[in-house]
C-alpha cells in the first residue's frame, strides 16, 4: 500500500496501510508518545478505495484488514480517522485469540481494576474517560483483554472515542490530546481523546479485577446501586465477548473464573458527578 503506519496499543501491534496520507497523519498525531511498535505486527489493517477511482473521486475509505466484515460500509475520507479506529477494533473483535476479549471499559487504582460493561450508549466509554482524568488509570475505553491463565486484565488504551454530548465534557483537555472534530459520521459527532500520559506509560502493566460494573445512564434515572448475581453477570459477559465461543473450553473457564473473582454492581446515574461518586463507593 502507498502509506504505512505501525502502532502498538498494549500487547497488540497493528500495521496500518492506507491509500491516502491524511488518515495516517491524523493517526500519527493522535498516537504520538505511544511506544515503539513490535517488528512483527499482530494484525494488518487496510484503508483502501473500494474502486480504484474512488481514491480521488468522492474518495471513500473501505474498512479492511486480516479480518473483514463483508457488509461493513465505507466511510468518507474526512472520517478516515474513524475508519482506522473501526478497522483496528474489527481486527481485535474477529481475530484476537490470545485473550478473552470483552467489550468493556477498564480503569485501575491502587492495583485494582474495575471492569465496566453495558449496552452501547450506557456511557461506559465516557465514564472511563472521566475517571481517567480524576485519579484513575485508564486501561481502555472499548476492549478489556482478559489473561487466559491469570485472569488479569491487560490494558488496551487506544484513543478514546468521545461521542456527541460527551465531547463537551473534555473541552478543556490540552489540544494536542484531541483529534479533529468529526461531524455527521454514521455514529454522530465524534472526537478522539488521547489517554493521559500515565495510561500510555503503563500500558504494559496488567491489573487484577476488583469489581464488575454495569453502568446505565439516563437523564431521569434515580441514583441507584444494586448487586448483580453471578449467573446474570456470566450471561451478560458472554454477550459482551466477541471471542468467547471461539475460545471454547478456555473461554468458559476464563469467564467463570472472572465472575467468581469479583463482585458485580449495577449502577444508575443521570449525571457524571453521581457516576464518579458511585464508582468511588463501589471501589471502597
Amino acid at each position: 500500500m502507498r502509506h504505512r503506519l505501525d502502532l502498538r496499543i498494549g500487547p497488540v501491534t497493528f500495521r496500518i496501510g492506507s491509500d491516502w496520507r491524511a488518515p495516517l497523519g491524523e493517526l500519527a498525531r493522535l498516537y504520538a508518545l505511544y511506544p515503539e511498535p513490535d517488528a512483527i505486527a499482530d494484525f494488518t489493517v487496510r484503508l483502501e478505495a473500494e474502486r480504484i477511482w474512488r481514491r480521488w473521486i468522492r474518495p471513500s475509505v473501505g474498512i479492511r484488514g486480516d479480518y473483514i466484515l463483508p457488509d461493513a460500509s465505507p466511510l468518507a475520507l474526512r472520517h478516515g480517522l474513524l475508519a482506522a479506529e473501526m478497522a483496528m477494533n474489527l481486527q481485535l473483535a474477529l481475530g484476537q485469540r490470545s485473550f478473552l476479549l470483552l467489550h468493556a471499559a477498564t480503569v485501575e487504582r491502587d492495583g485494582k481494576a474495575l471492569l465496566m460493561t453495558g449496552e452501547s450508549g450506557a456511557g461506559k466509554s465516557t465514564l472511563a474517560a472521566l475517571l481517567g482524568e480524576r485519579g484513575w488509570r485508564l486501561m481502555g475505553d472499548e476492549f478489556a483483554l482478559v489473561d487466559l491463565d491469570t485472569l488479569a486484565l491487560h490494558p488496551f488504551p487506544r484513543a478514546i472515542s468521545l461521542k456527541n454530548e460527551a465531547i463537551s465534557l473534555f473541552a478543556d483537555a490540552p489540544p494536542e490530546r484531541l483529534g479533529p472534530l468529526l461531524e455527521n459520521t454514521p455514529k454522530g459527532r465524534i472526537r478522539h481523546l488521547r489517554p493521559g500520559a500515565d495510561a500510555i506509560a503503563r500500558m504494559d502493566e496488567p491489573a487484577p479485577l476488583a469489581a464488575i460494573l454495569f453502568p446505565r445512564f439516563g437523564r431521569d434515572f434515580e441514583r441507584a446501586m444494586r448487586p448483580v448475581g453471578a449467573a446474570e453477570v456470566f450471561v451478560r459477559l458472554t454477550q459482551a465477548s466477541t471471542n468467547y465461543i471461539a475460545l471454547g473450553e478456555r473461554g468458559f473457564e476464563t469467564l467463570t473464573g472472572l465472575v467468581a473473582a469479583a463482585p458485580a454492581w449495577g449502577i444508575d446515574y443521570s449525571d457524571t458527578d453521581t457516576a464518579v461518586a458511585l464508582v468511588e463507593e463501589v471501589s471502597r
Binding site: Y67, S73, K187
Partner: protein, 342 residues
C-alpha cells in the same frame, strides 16, 4: 511481497523460515487464504523470532478448538441422521480432521460438508429441519436454483449453534458437463468408528481436484492445493495408489482436473507425483499458477483481470451459456441487499 510465492515456499520448505524478513506480510497472506493454521503446524519446531512463534502458537491452539467444534458439529449431524440409516460421508476439512489425516493439521474448517445418496435427500432434509437446522436463504429463486441445478441443498444453519451444513448429493453441479459417479463415491467410502464415512483415498484427491479446477473461481485455491499436497504425500505411501487414482479420475471424468492438480502441487509445493498421471506442463498452467498466487503481502487480491477471467470460467464450467445468461439476468435485476455499519 507482490504475490503469495513466499508463503507457498515456506509451506513447502519450513527450513526456509530462517530467511523470512517480513513475517507480518506472511501472516496477512496466510490469513487471507485461510492458511495460518496449516502454516503454524508446518513451522512447529523451527527457530523463529519470538513474536512470530507466539502468533503461530496461538494459531495452533485456536485450530485445536475449531477442530473440536467442527467434529462436534459432525457428531450432531450424525445423531440427527442416524435413524435414517443412510450413509453419511464427510467431505473436505471435517473429513480430514475426523480421520486424523495430515491434511487436517491446522486446516481451517468452515461449514460442515456431507455427501448423501441423492435418493435420500428428501428425508435427510426433513431430519435436519426437525433437529433445529433452518434455511439460510429465503429467496425463492435461489432456492429453486439450488434444487434444480446444484449438487447440494441450499445451505442450512443450526439455529442454536449457528453453524452451517452443506448437504451434497454429488461433487459437481448437475449442470456441469462433467458427470462424476456419485454412487461410486459412496460405495467406495470408508466407515469410521463413529459411523460417519470418508471418501476412499483416491476419491478424496479427485474430489479435492474437482473442487479446485472443475468448479468455482479458484478463490482459496492455494489452501485447496495444499490439501492436495498433504493428501497425495500421505496416500502415495499406499501400494498401487497411482493406478487407483488414475482409474478413479477416469471414472469420475475428472482426469484433466486431477492431472492439473498434481502438476501445480508439484510445481508450487514440491509434491512427489507420478509423472505419467501428471502429464507434461502445458502453457495454460502458468495462468492457473498466477491465479493461485494472486494475493500480496497486505493480503490484498491482485491481478483483477486474471481473477475476472477465472470468475467467468467458473460460470462457464457450471452452466451452458444460455442458462448462465438467464441466471445472471435474474441476479442483476434483483435489488441489492442494504449494507450496514460495523
Amino acid at each position: 511481497m507482490r504475490d503469495s510465492h513466499p508463503l507457498a515456499r515456506l509451506l513447502a520448505d519450513p527450513a526456509s523460515a530462517e530467511r523470512v524478513r517480513d513475517w507480518t506480510s506472511i501472516f496477512s497472506m496466510a490469513r487471507a487464504q485461510s492458511l495460518l493454521g496449516s502454516l503454524a503446524w508446518r513451522l512447529e519446531g523451527q527457530d523463529l523470532p519470538d513474536k512470530a512463534a507466539v502468533i503461530l502458537a496461538v494459531a495452533r491452539r485456536d485450530h485445536d478448538t475449531a477442530r473440536t467444534q467442527s467434529l462436534w458439529e459432525a457428531e450432531m449431524a450424525r445423531r440427527a441422521l442416524a435413524p435414517l440409516g443412510v450413509p453419511i460421508v464427510l467431505l473436505k476439512g471435517t473429513a480430514y480432521a475426523a480421520a486424523a489425516l495430515d491434511a487436517g493439521q491446522g486446516r481451517s474448517i468452515g461449514d460442515l460438508d456431507i455427501l448423501v445418496p441423492r435418493e435420500a435427500l428428501g428425508e435427510v432434509q426433513a431430519a435436519l429441519l426437525a433437529a433445529g437446522w433452518e434455511w439460510v436463504k429465503e429467496d425463492e429463486y435461489d432456492d429453486l436454483y439450488y434444487r434444480r441445478w446444484m449438487h447440494e441443498l441450499p445451505p442450512l444453519i443450526h439455529k442454536e449453534r449457528d453453524r452451517m451444513i452443506d448437504v451434497h448429493h454429488t461433487i459437481l453441479p448437475l449442470t456441469a458437463r462433467l458427470k462424476p459417479d456419485a454412487a461410486a463415491l459412496i460405495e467406495d467410502s470408508f466407515i469410521l468408528q463413529s459411523g460417519l464415512r470418508i471418501l476412499s483415498p483416491p476419491d478424496m484427491v479427485v474430489h479435492s481436484a474437482a473442487h479446485l479446477f472443475a468448479d468455482g473461481d479458484m478463490a482459496g485455491g492455494l489452501r485447496n492445493l495444499w490439501d492436495i499436497d498433504r493428501l497425495v504425500r500421505q496416500f502415495s505411501m499406499e501400494p498401487d495408489f497411482w493406478n487407483r487414482l488414475r482409474e478413479r479420475a477416469r471414472r469420475h471424468q475428472l482426469e484433466a482436473a486431477t492431472s492439473r492438480a498434481l502438476r501445480l502441487a508439484t510445481h508450487l509445493y514440491g509434491t512427489p507425483v507420478e509423472a505419467r498421471l501428471a502429464g507434461p506442463r502445458p502453457a495454460l498452467d502458468m495462468f492457473f499458477e498466477r491465479r493461485l498466487l494472486a494475493r500480496n503481502g497486505w493480503g490484498q487480491a491482485t491481478r483483477p483481470i486474471l481473477r475476472f477471467a477465472f470468475y467467468v470460467r467458473s460460470h462457464w464450467l457450471r452452466m451452458p451459456p444460455l442458462m448462465l445468461a438467464r441466471h445472471l439476468w435474474t441476479k442483476w435485476r434483483r435489488p441489492k441487499k442494504p449494507v450496514s455499519h460495523v
